[in-house]
């Protein structure tokens, strides 16, 4: 057991996957010699050489498009998109090519590729460097989407994503890169599609993912002081997401709050709420309340960004509202 940072855990996952499987390659802007803008790919070039660890030009569409072709031809590319905001430039390759190839070609092949991309705020990076756009990708049949909240899952979901035969988007919250946590020496892959109970509780369920999980846990601690025992579910995977786990929790608590950093409207939380208002309807004893960013671009200034990003107080208020 070692204490490592979230970013280091991803680094180790990349290195372990590259060691285990020579078909894994890493590419992206400044990922090789400079070791990545957030340092996540540091040292890989030295260990695995320039054929397998590649700095690319600023050509997001071609990098992701090339990864599709490489995956069709026997490699398992792991691409880094420097900020999730730039996924806008890669949507054709992701959505019309990678996601559809298996289905559209009659099941002839798989497209095993991973696209890593940091989302989220907290560093005052402004409107074009802070967005959480995972709901788009979760809406696309053929893509899988994961979003780790812990060091163990940063490792485990990255390994699982690389081992997966389909295109997987790994969304990394940049505010978590420096977070520390324990990583077992024999760290394992985290199965895609299975949620984790981050805190057990009886009175209300808070569903969350990524950097909002620690916030939800803080909210649960606050609620505990008020005598409310909240359960916190860390989704870990957004597509597919663990509907049985959420439903089971709701069946115990009968109250549901969903919290994420993304803009609330049309976000990932909408789907979870929608499903629970259908298959979980009979379990609901109160409204389903979502906590997300207000409907505006991420603002730059600290006062604004702090207000924009959901915090524990908003989650507490949401839980209290559904229990009222």
């Amino acid at each position: 057991m070692n204490e490592v940072r979230f970013g280091q855990a991803i680094n180790k996952a990349l290195a372990d996957a590259m060691t285990a499987d020579p078909s894994v390659i890493v590419l992206g802007e400044d990922v090789a010699r400079p070791g990545g803008p957030f340092g996540v790919t540091r040292g890989l070039l030295d260990r695995f050489g320039p054929e397998r660890v590649r700095d690319t030009p600023i050509s997001e569409a071609a990098i992701v498009g090339a990864s599709v072709g490489a995956a069709m031809t026997g490699l398992r590319p792991v691409v880094e998109i420097m900020f999730m905001d730039f996924v806008t430039l890669t949507m054709d390759a992701l959505v019309n090519q990678a996601a559809k190839a298996r289905f559209m070609f009659g099941g002839q092949l798989s497209v095993p590729m991973v696209v890593r991309m940091p989302h989220g705020g907290g560093i005052n990076a402004g409107p074009q460097h802070s967005q959480c756009l995972e709901a788009w990708l979760a809406h696309v049949p053929g893509l899988k989407v994961v979003c780790p909240a812990t060091v163990a899952d940063a490792y485990g979901l990255t390994r699982a994503a690389i081992a997966d035969d389909d295109p997987v988007i790994v969304v990394e919250n940049k505010a978590l890169y420096a977070a520390k946590g324990d990583l077992p020496d024999t760290a394992a892959a985290t199965p895609i599609g299975r949620a984790r109970t981050a805190r057990a509780g009886r009175d209300a369920t808070i569903v969350s993912y990524g950097a909002m999980v620690p916030v939800a846990l803080a909210a649960a601690a606050d609620l505990g002081r008020d005598g409310v025992d909240a359960e916190v579910i860390d989704l870990r995977s957004l597509q597919p997401w663990d509907e049985p786990a959420v439903l089971a929790s709701l069946a115990r608590t009968h109250r549901l709050v969903i919290a994420h950093e993304a803009v609330e409207a049309f976000g990932v939380g909408a789907e979870i709420a929608a499903r629970m208002s259908d298959v979980g309807f009979d379990e609901l004893d109160g409204p389903i309340v979502r906590v997300g960013a207000p409907f505006m671009p991420p603002p730059f200034a600290k006062t604004l960004e702090d207000w924009f990003r959901p915090d524990a107080a908003k989650i507490v208020a949401a839980v209290k509202r559904t229990m009222a």
Binding site: S23, A62, A66, V68, N96, A189
Partner: protein, 329 residues
Amino acid sequence: MSHTLAPFATDRLLELYRGMRLVREAEERLSALFAEGEIPGFIHLSIGQEAVPVGVASVLDEADTLASNHRGHGHAIAKGLDLDRFFLELLGKQDGYCRGRGGSMHVADMKLGMLGANGIVGAGLPIAVGSALAHKIRGTGHIAVVFFGDGALAEGVLHESMNLAQLWSLPVLFVCENNGWSEFTEGARQLTTDPQRMAAAYGMKATKVDGNDVIAVAGAAREAVATVRAGKGPCLLECVTRRVRGHFEGDPQKYRDAGDVAAATRDDPLARCESQLIADGISQADIEAVKTATAARVDAAVAKARAGPPPSPADTLADVYSPPREVAT
């Protein structure tokens, strides 16, 4: 059109003729089937452009990979795809290449390196570049080829793909089928550049040939493929050709001069090839025999496709993702 060729062996030329005849026959049948409402969706025919895919594919290996575009029937057939499964797919049948999920714009055969026709203009370019990257890293000795139209020259991803291929010296051959049209608009009203000047911008080796002369195409492709396969970096091959039919079947082509259609029809690569074959001593009867055999082959495929069962929705959802696998760490 700088390419000059050594005389071509007659038996090889006959082989090329057979290839072109098969594409032509298949597409003429598709045209008829479409007119009769037997083909759903829309189809883009490459009639008059057969020399390009057939000439290029004649110098490829089976394991070379190929990315295609919306006008991809010729690319698929020339790469050796099974005609039965091809027609089954175009008619939207269960036993088609894509189980009826893709149709004309998505025919693919991974076993033959055919990475798919593509409904998105330009999308095949980075796919081929990535496929070439895999060939290079894996040391397969194979190359990747991409066919794209002149209209695709305007897409940004073309620029990104050519730069990347050249930067990494990847074994990829860019084949531009320059037919002067993109949908209903002439290339000249869309582009201020051309394949040669784009290639020059990256210092990429490039050739331009008469794309309706199958000997010229095959010859230029042979040279380019040799360069690419030898690890000397990517090449671009521009084939100047003509679109005989409308953009898609059913296109009334009101935007087009009758003269342009007539000229395109006159400059027929098959007719030119036939003349050469006759000059080389092949008899008219031999040529007719090819035609008859080809028609019979296509007849059989059409019959099979017509008789094929429609796809059932049952297995579709299972193919959105791969079957689960044990994950080893």
